[in-house]
Amino acid sequence: MGDKLISICKNLLEENRVSLILAFTGRELDNQAVPYFIRDLKEVVNIKWDEYCTPNLAKYLLEKQIELKTQEQGKDKIGIVAKPCDARAIVMYLVEKQIHRDDVYIIGMECNGMKVQDGSLSPGCHECSVRVPPIYDVLIKSSGEIIYFDGKELEGDRKSTVAKVKTFEYPKTSPPPINKENDLERFRNEIEKCILCFSCRQACYGCYCPTCFIDRSMPDWHTDDLNEGTKMLFHLGRAMHLAGRCIECGACERVCPSGVKIRYLIREANDFCKKVYGYTAGLDPTQKPVLAQFNKDDKEIGFLGGVNE
């Protein structure tokens, strides 16, 4: 797949269809891939693609887009090498109107799970069922086959992938049911490890607010020292802001330096959205965000005297 990728990138730069490509390259240490921004044809040979290309490149689109728009030539296209989770992030950016579809050329890559530096699977890859990107301009499959997007709505692999994600059920062992208030200990134990470094916020595609709520002074959400209360506030607040938007890429847990297993909290909200509102984030660029729409028959689960339970 790597050499096919290099030849496609070379083509794109030669024909001037993009002015910047976001890809991966290797470093001196084995088992590591870092983001690589290519503007020149002779840098294309350094592109690497293997199962260690774990970082999510979608967030760079937002900052690079600003950089390109301020240039003399006006708007230029950006090419991006997108794994399925990166492609889901791009779909969410389209849903939330952060980028235009015409400003991005997506090189989709089929993915069977990515690894972290010690060779184990990255968190989130184990239970991932989206192996083919839901959006692409050109797709490179694991077999080396190249497919160009011909404008048809959903065909072949993508249709079955989307159908599988919509009906996917997490294994019964993971999230506990809503009526048991059993997890204060679990939450407290995880929060104890947190050092409020905000790496999870930096790595997440969905945390792109210019000023995060925890950093604001009007209103001042946390007024004391950084103690357990602030940590709880940050993680509960972040879970609420990502409810229904999380694309389940596992980056938050992967980059955490203290090993806080925080994904289960947002996964609950995501599951709820899937089951109750039939909404899965990051598959359909024409959808509206789940909290920006409503239905007059929405279920009022947990309400006093709630109807439609």
Partner: protein, 139 residues
């Protein structure tokens, strides 16, 4: 003589329906427990879920949010968005381990003074059974 512990419940009431309903309960001289502290908001849809989280983390024993009935919102659809937001918020709070009987959402209209008194009775009795908010020791 030592006083029995009384819970402190923060109530966010929407200005057009629930606050007016509470006002009606007052003018009708209806008796209900005095444990609630009312905060008036223009619409239940205005309420940032962080206010509820912060209230619990700062030591409130219970939180009640009340708005107009769906379809009757003064701002047409604010309570519809609030409905989705609050069901998700409750799910997250419960997963984090906070007892679901501490946080309540309901719809009270401006003419339901009697119903408002009943709602406060119900919420206060539920919260009282749970005891003080242990998270307060955290701050």
């Amino acid at each position: 003589m030592e006083k029995e512990w009384e819970p402190k419940i923060i109530a966010f009431l929407c200005n057009w329906c629930s606050y007016a309903g509470a006002d009606l309960a007052g003018t009708g001289r209806l008796q209900y427990p005095p444990n609630i502290r009312i905060i008036r908001v223009p619409c239940s849809g205005r309420l940032n879920p962080l206010y509820i989280i912060k209230a619990i983390l700062d030591g409130a024993d219970g939180v009640l949010v009340s708005g107009c009935h769906p379809g009757d919102c003064h701002y047409l659809s604010g309570n519809m968005y609030a409905r989705r937001r609050f069901t998700l918020l409750k799910r997250i709070i419960v997963t984090a381990g906070i007892n679901p009987d501490r946080v309540h959402f309901t719809w009270v209209s401006a003419s339901e003074g009697g119903r408002f008194a009943e709602v406060i009775e119900e919420v206060t009795s539920k919260v009282k059974k749970l005891g003080p908010n242990g998270l307060m020791g955290v701050k």
